[in-house]
Each structure stands twice: as structure tokens, then as C-alpha cells.
Symmetry: C2
DNA sequence: CGGATTATTATGTATATACATGTTCATCCA
DNA sequence: TGGATGAACATGTATATACATAATAATCCG
């Protein structure tokens, strides 16, 4: 940011236009100069101008219409990108020591609820895990997880006694689709006891369902003491870089 | 998706490579063919192959190193894109009737807490609003908002008795940066009464701080009954399109 | 033999060019 | 006058080309 160091032509044009849009100098609905004119203004070829505009369109800052030109878009939805990283990394970033404990490990046939969680239509064997993550001395997060043994049969060979299943799974299933659900819930008696918080204290619950190329992989529920933990997300138009 | 309709060469190459990565055929760490080889394989120019790889790199699916080549990236962070849209749209998407009521509207000098929320270092006048959003007959969400009158003096002329301040603000401040904080909290006596839920019921709280080009714009806190509401986010590698 | 120098290689950026595609606007003719 | 036709226009996609840059491999020489 504001590097000063010689940026590429592409970057300079991009941040210049981005600046005009974000500052409000070019308000929503404003028609920006045509590609050819931008090319002349910045002393570059149309291809370069085109690339910049394509980039801005992908980022959602402008809308492009053939013949009509390119227009500054209306800032409709506030998109927040949450990076849900590993719990160990999260704890360590708080400068606390991290420890992990496996509380339960059961192999069984998927119950009706399990099948709902994993979006399974057929009966299947699952691995039911409960883990507790500590930050320093205190319990930090409770993890309840189901692993679909049909898609990840290798999980049966792992005992997960020393390392959390999340990181192991990432190395097994290279890329996947995920769906998150975030909500608040009062601690049940059991959860309160495990997390060492008072009964009915508000908890932040994050559920994640993951699919690989061969089907549902895992369903996991993270339960955090709500007052001690918060998800933080930042959104800047144009994003990334 | 799986359109069948004649896609562009760019799109075809992109989805082909994306498919290989997502399916695991090309696992993390795998070195994909060089640009020139891809160009030959798909019968296109190097520029086209380059564009595709650039796209994939931006999407986070691959990493590129000069001289060495392009490699399938490790799926490190699970990024979830939350689209935090307007409450009215949210309620209507549930097929419920929407109504809005302004509970409080006070103009005052920013208190110490206000200044902390808005990240203000200097004293400044603010508008303090409390609104209640209804879905059908029931209270849906409580909105507590501070508007910085230094950056948005026009807000003083608005009474917000019939329409929510959020939508009005979007039309005033064209583009902005936002920071979100999501956590769980037990309902205070006051909140419980307003939302018609039991005392100490878990609530989902979403705080948003917004900046425009001229400084802090607004701080808003949305309080939802936690059991009735959830944020849902989906993540697919490659994303968008 | 080892450290400095040079060559090679793959990506990064930019240009000029060409043709396709979808709109809008002007024109022409029944 | 109205509706079809086609020209003009702006973006979309693709190519060939050129040179810059960074990292590795090969070479040379004290």
C-alpha cells in the first residue's frame, strides 16, 4: 500500500481509478471514459486499459455494458470475507500456548441427525469425534466433528489423540466446497462444564459442512464462549492485493 | 454452470484446470505444465494460457514462481464470504412482511465510548439511533447506530422515522471500507424486553464500523435472537462467476 | 575447488493488431 | 410513417510479438 516503489503501469492505473471511485469523485452511475480514451489518458494501449477495467468489473466496482460504456456500480451488498483458519494458529496468534485433547472417538453408523448434518441420503459409517482446544490454561473451543468414512476411509486408521482432525483432513482432501453457519446459543449443562463457563452463557457456534469431489466429507461444530471470542472481518472495495 | 453452450476458450481452459485441481487429480504441490506447454495442449497462444493462470493465482488455487513454474496451492485458509445485505431484503426473502420502527433519535456530543466505537480521536457531534426491525409480527432485529455528523452532516436533516438509516447511508457514502465483528452475547434485560425474548437468551451480535474517504462514517450493532437467526456463507474454490 | 559471472528458462508486463459480439442510431424504402 | 437494414461503436476475446525480471543452472577462472 502507498508503496511509492515503482509499481507497474497496470497497478498505477488501477489504483488511480479505484481511488476516484472510492473517494466519490466518480459516484455510482458515473460513466467512466471509454477504453480508448483511458488508453490515451494514461499513455498505454487499449489492451492494458481493458485489463484494468476487467479487473475492476470482477471486483464489483464497475459494471460494463457493450456500446454504452463502463459505469460505477451501486455498492449494494456489504461482503465480508471471513478467513476461518486453524484453531491452533488462532490461539498462537494471541500469544498463548496451545494444547489439544481428544475427548471422544466413536465409530458408528450414521444416525438420522448425522445424516442430516452430512447431507447423506444413504446409511454410512461415520467417525464421531469430540475435541477440546485450550489457550493457555483455559478451554478455548469445543469441537464436535463427524467424518464420513465412505469418502475418507483413511480416517479410521488415525487416532487423533495428539493432533486435531481439521489439519489432517485438509491434507487428505485437497480442495473442497464448504458451507458455514454462524449463530448464537446458550451453553447446555454439558458444554458449560466442558468449557468452564456458566450455564446458559451465550456461545458463538460455527458449523461447517465440507464436500470433496467424491461427496460429503465432514461436518464440524465449533463452540466458543461468546464473550471471549469474536469473528472479525474486513472489507475493502477492490479487495485482495 | 455446466452450461454446454459454447464457452470462450478462456473459460474452457479455466474450468478444465480448475476441475483437475478440485478433483484432486492435480494435488497440492503438483507442478502444472508450463505456459508454453499449456498453450500447445489447448491450441492457444501463451497470452491466453497466461491469463488463465493469472486468474487461478488470483483466486488462490495456484502459486506461481518464476523460473520454477506454477504449483497447486495448499488449501490453507477456509475463506467464507458473508454477504451482509439489508435487513429488509433479508426479511422479505423469508417471505415475511417487514416493518420498521424508530425507537430513539438523539443528537449529542460523542461520549468516550462513542468515540471508541467510531475510532474518533477528536470530540465530534453524533446522531444516536435505535431502530427495531420486525418480521411479520415478531421483532426480528434490534439496531443501535451512531452516525458521525462531521462526515455526514446531511444526516441531521433526516428523521429516519419511516425508513432505516442503513439504506439512506449507502446512497450518501458511495464506497467504503467496513470492519465486522461477530460475537454472541446474553440478552440484557432491556434487549430481552425489546426483542420479546427471555432474559439471558443467547443473541448473535454483528457490529460494523464504516469509513468513507473523509473519515469514520458510522458504527452499527445488530442484535438478533441467536436461536432464530444464523449467518450462512458458502465457499467454492475459484469462486465468483 | 569454490566463488563470481554469465546463460538459460519461465513467468510478468505491455503493445499492436484482428475479428467477434451485442447495442444503438441513422438511413432507406414500401 | 413504420419497420427493416445496415453502419457505427464499445466492449470481448484471442494472437503474435517484444522486452523485463527473477531464479536456477552452467561456466569460467583464480
Amino acid at each position: 500500500m502507498t508503496n511509492g516503489k515503482e509499481a507497474t503501469l497496470h497497478q498505477r492505473i488501477l489504483s488511480d481509478i479505484e481511488g476516484r471511485i472510492v473517494s466519490g469523485e466518480w459516484p455510482p452511475g458515473y460513466r467512466l471514459p471509454f477504453e480508448v480514451d483511458l488508453a490515451i489518458q494514461y499513455g498505454c494501449s487499449r489492451m492494458t486499459a481493458n485489463k484494468v477495467l476487467t479487473h475492476l468489473a470482477r471486483a464489483g466496482l464497475i459494471e460494463r455494458r457493450k456500446k454504452s460504456g463502463s459505469f460505477v456500480a451501486q455498492p449494494v451488498t456489504q461482503a465480508a470475507v471471513l478467513e476461518i483458519h486453524s484453531i491452533e494458529a488462532e490461539v498462537r496468534s494471541l500469544n498463548l500456548s496451545y494444547s489439544y485433547r481428544l475427548e471422544r472417538r466413536v465409530r458408528r453408523e450414521a444416525s438420522a441427525i448425522d445424516r442430516q448434518h452430512l447431507e447423506l441420503s444413504e446409511p454410512a459409517p461415520v467417525l464421531d469425534l469430540v475435541c477440546l482446544h485450550h489457550a493457555g490454561e483455559r478451554p478455548f473451543c469445543l469441537e464436535e466433528r463427524l467424518i464420513n468414512l465412505t469418502t475418507v476411509p483413511e480416517a479410521e486408521g488415525e487416532d487423533f489423540s495428539s493432533s486435531a482432525p481439521g489439519t489432517w483432513l485438509i491434507s487428505q482432501i485437497p480442495w473442497n466446497t464448504a458451507e458455514h453457519r454462524i449463530y448464537a446459543q446458550s451453553a447446555s449443562a454439558e458444554v458449560a462444564k466442558t468449557l468452564d463457563i456458566s450455564r446458559n452463557a451465550a456461545c458463538l457456534v460455527i458449523e461447517r459442512r465440507t464436500w470433496g469431489s467424491t461427496g460429503p466429507v465432514t461436518f464440524v461444530r465449533f463452540i466458543y464462549p461468546g464473550d471471549r471470542h469474536a469473528l472479525v472481518a474486513r472489507f475493502t472495495p477492490g479487495g485482495e492485493s
